[in-house]
């Protein structure tokens, strides 16, 4: 048992909060280096925490030595450890990427604001994954939302400000609904601790709790851009600078999905059956609509953003399958992790392509393959995960999902999953085909710092290598010995 002041759980929140403030004071140059160093430390902390949880099970840290219900508890179990690892593993390469991305003249102003906001975003995510009561989750959710909105507005143009405004309003209404749900729950039971709520709700929930569950689910679904609440995501993620889009698509939307999963598997488990089919149907609609829009759009980053909408649909397909087969949880987590890595890689690659061609359109990509081959390889590898082709993490997730669907006899989802994979192939190869076209003459491509290409490649390779070895991740998720996932 570690000493309280050395507890990695606390440092995973304190460290990013500190460097967020310090980088604001230090400025973009030194700030970037500080952030990268701190993120490296955070990676080590997350790994240490994961190893500890894998060995001894879930652990609690009482902040300031005061436990619940008056104080705040930080709970780290298998699912939290996995999400913390994902966050740190994506944030570090993206930070290295961002430091190189923001160095040219256009972007110097953006760099000043990027580091503090990114720091707050990561602190909020870490805190969210470690929270054990509903109200603390609300606070972290709001912090996450505000930081994300700030990052979306980073570009400074009218379209980005409008996208940020739209995102902010959706986010605020969603958290407001969540807060009302928390209020109703507290009013009914007098507690907001997740652990104690489970048995209480299991004894037969009053109407207020049904209402609360609905409100919270709707709010979190809107934050996760689940169809039909997805409309804010393509402008926001498509218009932001590449490192910002990577953080948002890979991490931020996963946080609200994590919450839905946590609540679904924990306190609201008795209520889950009714909404499972609805969640699945909306997920299927997201897959089909998102992929269709990705096939139609002319802008590279919009395409990748619509791909996020589609891939988030896979996550919500997990819910109707959870009832029948515990393996569906593993599928959902594997999908979240693989998609996080792959989407960050895709946005990083898209950023490089835009820097190289000077434009955001697919037509502008013609012939770029010769100039940035590593980036296109990275885009291709990330695409392999998105399409769910072997040997990637996305393929393992797809396999587990299809397996869960077939075992429970729910054939319809298999058709949706397969169709989603084929549509994803459609839009991924749309980009690759354009890039491989041979065009005569020199088309005026700009040189791009090598570091940007390498970071995209590292993230993409990680998502593919995940497909070769998922045993440790699943063992971490399931916890030591008992095989029961969480809560």
């Amino acid at each position: 048992m570690t000493e309280a002041w050395l507890d990695p759980a606390a440092w995973l929140i304190l460290l990013p909060l500190s460097w967020a403030s310090l980088t604001f004071l230090a400025g973009p140059g030194r700030g970037g280096r500080l952030a990268i160093a701190a993120l490296a430390v955070q990676c080590a902390l997350a790994l240490g925490l994961a190893l500890e949880v894998a060995a001894t099970g879930a652990r609690v840290h009482a902040v300031g030595g005061w436990g619940a219900p008056l104080g705040i508890d930080l709970l780290a179990d298998g699912l939290s450890a996995v999400m913390l690892l994902l966050t740190q593993a994506v944030a570090l390469p993206i930070a290295v990427y961002a430091q190189a991305y923001f160095t040219d003249a256009h972007h110097r102003q953006e760099a000043t604001w990027f580091w503090p906001l990114a720091g707050f975003l990561i602190a909020a995510m870490n805190a969210l994954f470690l929270s054990a009561d509903l109200f603390n989750l609300y606070v972290t959710l709001e912090l996450l939302g505000l930081a994300a909105v700030g990052l979306v507005a980073l570009g400074g143009g009218a379209a980005q400000i409008a996208a940020a405004m739209r995102y902010l309003l959706v986010s605020l209404v969603a958290s407001g609904a969540y807060l009302l749900g928390v209020a109703l729950i507290y009013g009914s039971y007098g507690t907001v601790a997740i652990a104690t709520l489970g048995p209480l709700i299991g004894q037969g929930p009053p109407l207020a709790i049904w209402l609360a569950a609905g409100l919270m689910a709707a709010g979190l679904a809107a934050k996760s851009a689940l169809f039909p609440f997805h409309f804010w995501l393509p402008p926001a993620h498509g218009g932001a600078p590449a490192p910002v889009s990577a953080l948002l698509s890979a991490l931020v939307v996963k946080a609200s999905f994590y919450l839905v999963l946590r609540l679904w598997l924990g306190p609201f488990a008795p209520l889950a059956q009714t909404a499972a089919a609805l969640a699945g149907a909306l997920g299927a609609a997201a897959i089909l609509w998102g992929s269709w829009q990705a096939l139609r759009t002319r802008h590279i980053k919009r395409l990748v953003a619509w791909s996020t909408v589609a891939q988030l649909g896979y996550l919500f397909l997990v819910f109707p399958l959870l009832a029948a087969d515990g393996a569906a949880l593993q599928a959902g987590v594997m999908q979240a992790v693989a998609h996080g890595l792959a989407k960050a890689a895709m946005f990083a690659a898209a950023g490089v392509l835009m820097l190289a061609t000077g434009r955001d359109t697919l037509e502008g990509l013609a012939g770029v393959a010769g100039r940035v081959p590593l980036t296109l390889f990275a885009f291709g590898l990330a695409g392999v995960t998105i399409m769910g082709l072997p040997p990637s993490g996305g393929f393992l997730a797809k396999w587990l999902l299809i397996d869960a669907a077939l075992v429970s006899g729910q054939w319809g989802w298999v058709v949706v999953i397969i169709a989603g994979g084929l549509l994803a192939a459609g839009y991924v190869f749309r980009v690759l085909r354009q890039a491989f076209l041979v065009v005569p003459g020199d088309t005026g491509f700009q040189p791009v710092p090598r570091r940007l290409e390498w970071m995209a490649f590292v993230l993409a390779t990680a998502s593919v290598l995940l497909g070769l070895r998922g045993v440790e991740l699943m063992a971490l998720l399931n916890g030591p010995g008992d095989g029961q996932p969480i809560s």
């Binding site: 392999v384 082709l389 396999w399 070769l468």
Partner: protein
């Protein structure tokens, strides 16, 4: 890790590692690239030879790696695997030499040879796959690594061909995946075992097993170009000749046929498949493809398209052999896997030579080609005669065994199918030979890139591979009874697949 575990991985690594290094090489480093390519090909050949000797003696080589609980990546170099591995490895060596000559001076060669190496890695991995999961992983990797080669030229036409190719192969992969996951749900890991593994499930699962069989065969049938899933193969001919030669005449289509063999023999077991009534429909489908492919070939003027339809037809000989219940048919089909590979690659090499040297792409342009390029045309003729089943060629041997197998299985109509196909083969190959040898050459060739220098008709790198493979066609035919021939190896496999039979 023991030696028996390391060898299969070494075979994979011998093309994967050079391939990855080649990607990073700058375009101008021709010497390094050639050296890496040849080093990879030769070392792979050495490892495969070691495996052949060991498997002949009864050794087992395999490797397992757990990906998730219940899902393993597993390699098993058994006799059937080595049939395909040896074919791919030998032909990769020759095609690499050919490609170096063919692509001299073209752009993006590092990219080409990098993906070329990845393709061979995928083919070999697929051949050595020890369970359906591993097979699927490499099956899709094969699709992904062949796509950049199909679209290598970067023209709009190449892109269209690539799109069609992807659409077919990814759809096939989706069907295959569904079947595999379904089967996994029923019996857990589906390891390839002599005699099959699904018979243990019992009769109440028979309906599900039939449906799964349909999904699996449809999935691999796309790559095996079985009618009506063959549409991608003629379209994929936009690829450069080395790609068409190795990949679309050998690796990709053989991967599909190999998949059919594995599924029938080592997942379902041929006796169980027969009892479910699955083999006769497969035989019918294969026969339809044999006749339809040959028929379409008659009307193609583009030389590579004619060869593509011929491939459609000939690969289904293998499927037919698998579907003929009985060891004789098995031997015929598996031997044809090798024989058709060497015959077809010879034909494609020659087609590439005609295109590169004289700018000939169509049959109608081939008048008098035999006078100008005699050695290439000799090789072409041997390959064509092999396709027709002329005596002394490899094709004759496998056709004879297939015909015997059809009679032994009681499907006498299949013998008629084989005869019809031979006649159609003659009908579309003999005119080409007539034009090349007998007709007078035109005053000027369409686009003579490589002028004749004395007796040398074209570049040596382009001439040697087809001559060697044409010689192999004759050797495999004449020496079919020798202990080291492809036929002998096929008999070894059949002996191990069927539980009571002495060859």
């Amino acid at each position: 890790m023991t030696l028996n575990e390391a060898l299969p991985l070494a075979v994979l690594a011998s093309s994967l590692v050079p391939g990855l290094v080649i990607f990073a090489l700058p375009e101008e480093r021709v010497g390094w690239r050639t050296a890496l390519n040849l080093f990879g090909a030769v070392s792979k050949l050495a490892f495969v030879a070691w495996l052949l000797i060991g498997v002949q003696a009864g050794e087992t080589y395999g490797f397992r790696h757990t990906v998730l609980p219940g899902i393993e990546l597993m390699f098993k170099a058994d006799a059937l695997a080595l049939l395909f591995v040896t074919l791919s490895t030998l032909l990769w060596l020759f095609t690499t030499v050919y490609a170096i000559g063919y692509l001299e001076g073209s752009p993006h060669r590092s990219r080409f040879f990098g993906f070329f190496s990845l393709c061979v890695t995928s083919t070999v991995g697929l051949a050595m796959a020890g369970n359906l999961y591993t097979f699927f992983v490499f099956y899709e990797l094969l699709t992904l690594s062949t796509f950049p080669l199909v679209v290598h030229r970067g023209t709009a036409q190449a892109m269209r061909g690539g799109t069609v190719y992807l659409a077919y192969t990814l759809a096939g992969g989706a069907l295959l995946l569904t079947g595999i996951v379904w089967l996994h749900g029923l019996i857990g890991q589906v390891e390839f075992t002599h005699g099959g593994v699904v018979a243990a499930l019992g009769p109440d699962r028979a309906a599900q097993l039939k449906l799964i069989f349909l999904l699996l065969i449809a999935g691999v049938g796309v790559k095996a170009a079985i009618v009506p899933l063959h549409g991608w193969l003629p379209q994929a001919m936009v690829a450069p000749a080395p790609v068409s030669a190795l990949l679309h005449a050998v690796a990709v289509v053989k991967a599909g046929a190999f998949g059919i063999a594995r599924i029938v023999y080592e997942v379902y077991g041929v006796e169980y498949a027969q009892s479910l009534g699955l083999l006769v429909p497969l035989a019918i489908l294969a026969s339809v493809t044999i006749v339809w492919g040959s028929f379409r070939a008659l009307f193609q003027d583009d030389l590579k398209k004619r060869l593509a339809y011929s491939t459609v037809s000939q690969v289904s000989y293998i499927a037919l052999g698998v579907a003929l219940f009985g060891p004789v048919g098995t031997v015929g089909g598996l031997a044809h896997l090798v024989h058709q590979g060497i015959m077809k690659i010879t034909l494609f090499f020659c087609a590439g030579n005609y295109a590169e040297t004289l700018g000939i792409h169509k049959v109608s342009e081939m008048d008098g080609a035999g006078r100008r390029m005699p050695w290439t045309t000799v090789a072409f003729s041997i390959g064509a005669l092999g396709m027709m089943g002329a005596p002394l060629t490899a094709g004759a041997v496998s056709k004879a065994w297939l015909a015997d197998g059809a009679e032994a299985a009681g499907l006498n109509w299949a013998v008629w199918v084989l005869w019809t196909s031979s006649l159609l083969n003659a009908a579309y190959f003999l005119p080409i030979l007539w034009r090349a040898w007998v007709r007078r050459p035109p005053p000027a060739w369409p686009d003579e890139h490589i002028p004749a220098r004395g007796r040398r008709e074209t570049a040596w790198l382009l001439l040697a591979p087809p001559l060697i493979t044409a010689a192999a066609v004759l050797v495999a035919g004449v020496f079919a009874e020798a202990p080291w021939s492809p036929l002998a190896w096929a008999r070894l496999i059949a002996k191990r697949e069927y539980l009571e039979w002495a060859p």
